[in-house]
């Protein structure tokens, strides 16, 4: 009746039980708060059924933030293991549990923090930056979020019911196949990644069409903010890469559920094919994560240096070069699989070529600052932190791209240090920079600056302590994913420094949570009344903070680069803006269906994990039903009349 789900799935060890109790308490607290403040209606109307990308962006950030918290807890547990499991000691965790934790850590951080962050930024910034009122497909946008949330939920529920995968976040077969891992872990991984992946692909299509079809008049491609360009790069990568993930994970699922032989070592299967395919997705994936961060820094550096971005055209070509090159480097993830000298050399050389446009970007940012007037608010601090860590990580990356060198450091902690340097230094710091930057736009008040600085210093020094020792450990022959190691190799002191580093990072996260709470409390003192708290350059700052649901009452003129800055300068020079003539605005109606579909997707995934096939069938039919219902709705919009627009504008 319930497939392979039995009561035994609920028995967990103390650490997981603690996590589950914590989650339960947090959930009860939030539900209680909603009842106490009578906010259920508000929650339903303003958040759960919204199709407004500004709200959807906030929801992405909330989920990504929660998953970041979980990911850092995973990291703390991992480091605790690494300082206790020496010699004969088992340490804090038994091997399988440790392997689950690092698998969950990687899966969570890449899919639910990384992708969550970039979709949050896209939702929050793209329509505003291009002078549009909405995205191309608002319903699809909401659906993408709910599928993302469903995927995240599957990871969370695996803490309470059953176990998560223990095969590493990329799940190589044969280890992830039926023979070596028949349990539910890999299936949880498969369905959480698959469902979130479908959401990502939908967003890829959505924002691609939005940018290419909905820019305000006059905004040609070369007039767009660089952040928008970097998002185009990321979107093109999503469009090409995510179908590969969908197909590959499906084939792994078919191996496991229907006994197929795509990736089994026998019966004509080919595990090496999985490795090729998963990295053909996996490499573009990491560039999907980093390009938006580059875009953020372009906007932040130029705003906080009070100068236009240096070398705009060069920057655009750098983005295009990076996007194109990231398709032809995937083999560098497995130089050690034995492809032969010429193949390894080709992919290695293609990989190192990416360093050129990346370096170009760094130089252009520095020269944007040159002869500028730099204000070191937290967004700029995060940029400096990025400049330091990402450069170092990038250097390590070029070292890794040389196959014979990689033969010695592949899968070692040197590799771990490299990718954390570029992902934390790049993606995470970029997000934090952007978060402080756009926070006043979204909420209407600024974040507490002092706590932001403390958070930065904790994260930056914590990062250095947590990962610089790992470069050394890799050179000392420490491979990754070890749940224990022999004493007397000189590794312990380095692991202690690394553990201290993660504790510092956790403090940084603590400061950020504190910053949020304090800023909300102090919001009246930090109100942004102009909509332009940083003297910004691009169109998003031309709206109020927060913007009205339709973003712009009058579609702006995008004929200049840094259009808003040009507009402000013209006003300073005495140009009087024309009196606005308001028109009716059509906005999409709210809809609960994206949320229903997300819940149904979660049920579907859960049912497949536990082989509850009747439930899977039922939820699939329900998904079809909801889809057909929505696709039969011929009037999904409502109108704000010109008069109403005029009234709303007058109130601002």
């Amino acid at each position: 009746m319930l497939g392979r789900l039995t009561l035994e799935a609920l028995s967990q060890d103390p650490i997981e039980t603690t996590a589950n109790v914590f989650s339960l308490v947090a959930a009860i607290f939030i539900i209680g708060l909603l009842f106490y403040k009578h906010r259920w209606g508000w929650l339903w109307k303003e958040w759960l059924t919204t199709l407004d990308p500004k709200k959807i962006g906030v929801m992405y950030m909330i989920v990504a933030g929660a998953m970041l918290f979980k990911g850092i807890v995973d990291a703390l547990l991992m480091r605790a293991q690494q300082v206790t499991a020496i010699g004969d000691a088992q340490g804090l965790l038994d091997p399988l549990h440790y392997q689950q934790i690092f698998t969950a850590h990687g899966t969570t951080m890449i899919f639910f923090v990384g992708m969550g962050i970039i979709f949050a930024l896209m939702n929050l910034m793209i329509p505003l930056q291009i002078g549009a009122r909405d995205v191309a497909y608002p319903f699809l946008n909401a659906l993408s979020f709910w599928l993302f949330a469903a995927g995240a939920m599957l990871v969370i529920i695996s803490l309470a019911i059953g176990k998560f995968s223990a095969t590493g976040w990329v799940a190589y077969p044969p280890l992830s196949g039926l023979k070596y891992n028949p349990g539910v872990g890999v299936d949880y991984w498969i369905w959480s990644v698959q469902i979130a992946g479908v959401g990502s692909l939908m967003s890829g299509i959505n924002f691609f069409v939005t940018i290419f079809k909905m820019r305000c008049p006059g905004m040609t491609l070369m007039k767009m903010p660089i952040f928008t360009w970097s998002i185009i790069g990321a979107l093109v990568l999503i469009l090409f890469a995510f179908p590969i993930l969908t197909a590959t994970v499906t084939m792994l699922a078919l191996d496991r559920m229907l006994g197929m032989h795509f990736f089994t070592p026998d019966f004509g299967g080919n595990p090496m094919m999985y490795i090729n395919l998963i990295w053909a997705w996996g490499h573009p994936e990491v560039y999907i994560l980093i390009l938006p961060a580059f875009g953020v820094f372009s906007d932040v550096v130029s705003t906080f240096s009070r100068k236009p971005l240096f070398g705009y055209t060069s920057m655009v070509w750098a983005i295009i070069a990076i996007t194109f090159l990231s398709y032809i480097v995937w083999l560098h993830h497995f130089f050690t699989m034995g492809a032969g000298a010429n193949v390894n050399a080709f992919f290695g050389i293609m990989t190192m070529i990416i360093a050129v446009p990346t370096g170009v970007k760094v130089f252009n940012w520095l020269f944007t600052m040159h002869k500028g007037r730099i204000s070191f608010s937290t967004p700029m601090l995060w940029f400096l932190g990025f400049a330091f860590t990402f450069t170092f990580g990038g250097m390590a990356g070029v070292l890794l791209s040389i196959a014979p060198v990689d033969f010695q450091v592949h899968n070692s902690l040197f590799l771990i240090a490299h990718f954390h340097s570029v992902i934390i230094g790049g993606v995470v710091f970029g997000f934090f920079s952007c978060f402080t930057y756009i926070f006043p736009k979204i909420t209407g008040f600024k974040l507490n600056e002092k706590l932001g600085r403390y958070a930065f210093y904790c994260w930056f020094f914590g990062f250095l302590a947590a990962f610089l020792p790992l470069y050394l450990l890799g050179l000392m022959g420490a491979t990754r994913r070890l749940d224990r190691y022999d004493a007397g190799q000189g590794w312990e002191p380095l692991f202690w420094v690394a553990a201290f580093g993660v504790v510092l990072i956790a403090c940084g996260l603590g400061f950020q949570i504190l910053q949020l709470l304090v800023s909300v409390k102090q919001r009246d003192q930090n109100r942004d009344t102009t909509g332009d708290p940083w003297d910004g350059r691009t169109l998003e700052w031309a709206t109020s903070s927060p913007p009205p649901v339709y973003n712009f009452a009058i579609i702006p003129d995008g004929r200049a680069r840094d259009a808003f800055w040009v507009h402000k300068e013209s006003i300073k020079n005495g140009v009087i803006p024309k009196k606005p003539i308001y028109e009716d605005i059509h906005m999409p109606k709210n809809s609960p269906i994206p949320m229903y579909l997300g819940v149904l997707a979660f049920v579907f995934g859960f049912a497949l994990v536990w082989h509850i096939f009747w439930l899977a069938g039922l939820s699939f039919l329900a998904i079809l039903g909801c889809t057909i219902y929505r696709l039969s709705d011929d009037h999904p919009e409502y109108t704000i009349t010109a008069k109403e627009v005029e009234q709303m504008e007058a109130k601002r």
């Binding site: 399988l96 392997q99 044969p174 280890l175 070596y180 070592p265 026998d266 019966f267 595990p271 100068k307 236009p308 240096f310 705009y312 055209t313 050690t336 034995g338 000298a341 010429n342 290695g348 050389i349 190192m352 070529i353 360093a355 050129v356 170009v360 760094v362 252009n364 520095l366 944007t368 600052m369 040159h370 002869k371 007037r373 730099i374 204000s375 070191f376 400096l384 330091f388 450069t391 170092f392 250097m395 070029v398 040389i402 196959a403 014979p404 990689d406 033969f407 010695q408 592949h410 020094f461 302590a465 050179l475 000392m476 022959g477 491979t479 994913r481 749940d483 022999d486 190799q489 000189g490």
Partner: protein
């Protein structure tokens, strides 16, 4: 003043960390930087050359980042503020061109290095090579010496200054065969046979491990690769041949069963062609 204090503090912390690192490095064993076989030596050479080449770009970046941030900070009214400057063809040419040239040079080293250090390429040596067949199992390493008629688990002895021709497979999930002190690794995959060619330049005892997650007992898959003089090696081979345990098909079947933290085991080889059988096992079905 506050700013200067902060920067000094930062610098001090950075220096402190660097000193710590150097201190640790001097006392610890860093096989990849202190290889004992000339494959590892060549790989290290590539590592050092490429690091130096990249520093040509990275050092100016760090310097510029610090200098520009310092000089053009808001409260430095002495610095010139010029918001009209947003392009410079010469600078663009420099920072597209110079890194481009460096990458070109690196590419040449890479191509050369890939060919010279291809794991499948036999070593150039007048000494006759020794063949060792490696089978990754759950969760131990089986070493078969087909020409010597012996087999061992989690321990390998090789004569120094002798090229070793490793042939590697797995009867387990994917693993990676790695002896950091001697040179790079290569994957051990069921149904496939990869090759690695290494050589030890001196007598010594080196740690080996699996560098790819293969399940619960993965961390315990360490082994010792000991290089000795040729005499000691031959003597050892004779003593193992006389060992009471023999590796038969039956014994092998038991070895395939998952075990953790296997102790060292020595066998005389009682079957022929075991390695090829293990590889073919996956092909035949």
């Amino acid at each position: 003043m506050k700013r200067k204090f902060k920067i000094t503090l930062l610098a001090l912390i950075a220096i402190g960390i660097a000193l710590l690192a150097v201190g640790l490095m001097l006392r610890a064993d860093i096989p990849i930087l202190n290889p004992k076989g000339w494959i590892g030596v060549k790989e290290r050479r590539l590592l050092i050359i490429s690091t130096l080449l990249m520093l040509i770009v990275v050092v100016p970046v760090y310097f510029l980042a610090w200098y520009i941030a310092w000089k053009y900070r808001e409260d430095n009214t002495k610095a010139k503020y010029d918001p009209t400057v947003d392009n410079n063809i010469l600078l663009e040419a420099i920072w597209w061109g110079v890194p481009g040239v460096i990458i070109l040079v690196l590419s040449v080293y890479t191509l050369q290095g890939c060919r010279e250090l291809d794991p499948f390429k036999p070593l150039d040596s007048e000494v006759k090579a020794l063949t060792v067949q490696v089978v990754a199992l759950e969760w131990k390493w089986l070493f078969i010496y087909p020409d010597q008629g012996i087999a061992t688990v989690n321990y390998m002895r090789i004569p120094k200054d002798t090229p070793i021709n490793f042939k590697i497979t797995a009867d387990a999930p994917m693993n990676s065969f790695w002896i950091p002190a001697l040179g790079g690794q290569i994957y051990a995959m069921p149904g496939m046979s990869t090759k690695l060619h290494l050589i030890a330049d001196e007598v010594g005892s080196y740690k080996g491990l699996s560098a790819n997650l293969s399940g619960m007992g993965f961390a315990g898959m360490t082994f010792i690769a000991e290089s000795t003089t040729l005499e000691d090696f031959d003597a050892w081979v004779q003593s193992v041949k006389a060992a009471p345990s023999g590796l038969t098909d039956q014994v092998y079947k038991q070895l395939v069963e998952p075990t953790i933290n296997n102790p060292v085991a020595l066998y005389s080889l009682q079957v022929q062609g075991l390695y090829d059988q293990i590889v073919m096992k996956y092909m035949e079905r």
